[in-house]
Every structure is written in C-alpha cells, then in structure tokens.
Subunit: 213 residues, 2 copies
C-alpha cells in the first residue's frame, strides 16, 4: 500500500458532506474494526471488534471495550476500519499493492452509562449486521445491559485513505509483456447453518435468506 | 465478540507445534493486518498493511513500516490479523457475536537493511498473495530496494483468539421460537480486470485464472 497512491481525505467542516459520506460509508460497510489503545506500560494493543456507526458516533462493545475502559488513564484510542477491494498487480514487483478503503478515527472512548443508549447501540449493531433481526429476538434485560460495556467514540478527528484503480507502473515498464491489472476481492456471506437445538417448526427467516442470497 | 466464547491460545514452547500452526495459519490466510504503534505523543495509531510471514518472522513494507520506523523511540508494535468466518445469531440480543480467528503479535519492529532480505521479503509477500507471480514480473532494482522500507517483526510473543461454533444461548432461551445459527462469511476473489495499457498479445496467466476460479 504505497503512500503515493493514497487519497487522504481529512474530514473537516469545510470539506462538506462528501468526505463525511465517504467516511460513513466505509465505517458502515466494514463488519469489524481494529481498536488500538496504549496500555498502562505505554505499549500498543490492537483488538478486533464489531462496531456500528450511529450518526456521528461509533459504538463498540464487549471485551474490547472493557479492555479499553480499564485503561482509563490512557483512554486515547485509534479505531481503524478497512475494506479490501482488490490486489493490484503491476508489471514490476514494486508496483504490487492493494485497492482498499480505510478509515482511521482518533479520539477518546467514552463509557456509555445510560441504559437506553446502550440498548440503542446494541440494536444498531445487530441491525447493521443483519437487518430485520432485532424485532425477532429476545431483547436485553436491564441486568444484561448493566453487565455490558459499551464504548462510544465521537467522530471528530478522522481520515479516510483510499486506493483504487489500476497499477501505476513506471512508464518504461509498460512495454513489458507482463499481465497487469486488478484482481477484485470482496467479503461475501456463505450460507446459514441452523443451530442444532433449533425448535422444529422454526424456519430460516426471510431477512436471513435475503442476506445470503 | 464476547470474552467468554474465546479460546485463547498462548504460543509458548510447552504448547508445542499445534498453537504455532494455528498462529501461522491465521497470519498466512489474512491478506492484511493492522499495525499498532504508540506515537511520539503516546497516542495509538493503527494502520492497515499487507504482511507476510516467513518462518518465525512477519514482514511489512511501505508507508506503514515507514511510519513505524520513524517512531524509533517508540518501536514497540502490536500487529493484529483477523479473519471473519461468520455472524453468530443467538436467540437473544446478547448472544449475537462473530466467529473469527485473530492473531496478536507483540514485539519490536526491526528495519531490514540487508538488500537480499528485503528482496526475499517482497518476493514472499507477492507469492503469498498471488502464487506464481514473482517469476513473471520485473524484479526490483537495487535502487528500488534502497528506497523501500521493510519492517521485520519476530514472532516471539503472540496469541491467537478464536471463536467458532454455534451461538451459546442461555438455557432458558432455547425454547424461544427464534431462528438461531451461524451465517458464514468469507473473503473471495472477484474477477480480474486487465490494465488498459496491457500489450495486445498478453493474456491472463494461468496462476491468476486459478486464483479467481
């Protein structure tokens, strides 16, 4: 992922809604992000975690949030979400790269205390991954919500980095008889495996069939 | 990704080759990793980058390596590679999760100075992504190699975290008439788009056709 082929988009008010849409689109499409913290000893720790964007905030929950929350004196975080769109094959070794879209979000995580905000964040997370799921499932109890850590990260300082398009070979290499181009990549759903304890009359709901079709 | 459903495998000599094989398998299958550093101000920075494992070392190159290398006084890194295998759908909101395999690698990055080691690392990186490619392309010149940053991270302190299998619903929820199970996910290749400047008699090589078939 060479620096020269990156388009860096700083989300600043004067850049208008376009950049924000780009940022939001990447955050919304990425299933997981990687949450970086600096631990008590000053060492970096990067943890994968599910995330969801709601307006101008990102929520993560679970153990990643807990770990970050425990590092309360070092609560600066960097949340990075990356989508790989393809492998870029140049005619020379040096011009091999990847097409990707990535967002880096810097800020301080804030522990969500409000029960309704926690509930809304969990709902948004599940609906992001499986639209239509929330109405189908047992809702969280107050006790479950109290036992859940949810971290909120405001989208204040963020940047998107994007590489797309063909290889950028050296002019002199264009005459080489070497195949060059882009091999596309994407993440796909790959069937649904019912739980073995499923009640007999429970069939796969339409919103899951839609997802995997 | 709740903590209770994780299997944590510490790679220690006494755990034998099994854990090491698991670690290696995840590192080898993941196209990108996320490289975390602590910057001069003590803040975490997490950058996506291509990586390759060669025996007991991981190499990254390009801008991520450069940035890490510039932070020479804070050269502890955490390299995390994650594969998403599926979405886990429980009967209750709290038992929604993801199946995944992840490796966290802690250590100090070492700048590769030796020209042959740089060349070998680039070859390994390209061959990891597109087996058969190296023999086909223009090799790096000495000048190109000098201009390239390659970072070597020894696999000394590393752990794998894996969640797989069905949802782990509460006993009392098993009677709910709610579909539960796992929706599989995987990353796939998605066709090859030739560069527009390709010479007319250059066809798509077999090693690329094999990759995308």
């Amino acid at each position: 992922m060479p620096e020269q082929s990156r388009t860096k988009l700083r989300r600043k008010p004067r850049r208008g809604s376009h950049d924000r849409d780009v940022l939001n689109g990447i955050l919304d499409e990425a299933v997981v992000c990687h949450l970086g913290i600096t631990d008590e000893g000053g060492l970096p720790v990067v943890t994968p975690t599910l995330h969801v964007r709601v307006e101008n905030r990102v929520y993560v929950h679970g153990s990643a949030a807990s770990r970050t929350l425990r590092s309360s004196n070092h609560s600066d975080i960097c949340l990075t979400a990356t989508l790989i769109d393809g492998l870029v094959l140049g005619r020379s070794a040096m011009h091999h790269s990847a097409n990707y879209r990535s967002v880096m979000l810097f800020g301080k995580g804030e522990q969500v205390e409000d029960s309704q905000e926690k509930r809304d964040a969990l709902k948004a997370l599940i609906e992001k991954l499986i639209p239509g799921r929330w109405a189908d499932i047992r809702q969280p109890t107050d006790q479950e919500l109290r036992a859940t850590s949810v971290l909120r990260i405001p989208i204040d300082e963020a940047s998107a980095k994007i590489r797309n398009g063909p290889p950028m070979d050296d002019e002199a290499d264009l005459e080489l008889p070497v195949w060059a181009g882009v091999v596309g990549m994407r993440q796909v759903f790959d069937g649904a495996r019912p739980d073995q304890h499923l009640l007999r009359d429970v069939t796969c709901p339409e919103y899951i069939a839609d997802l995997i079709s």
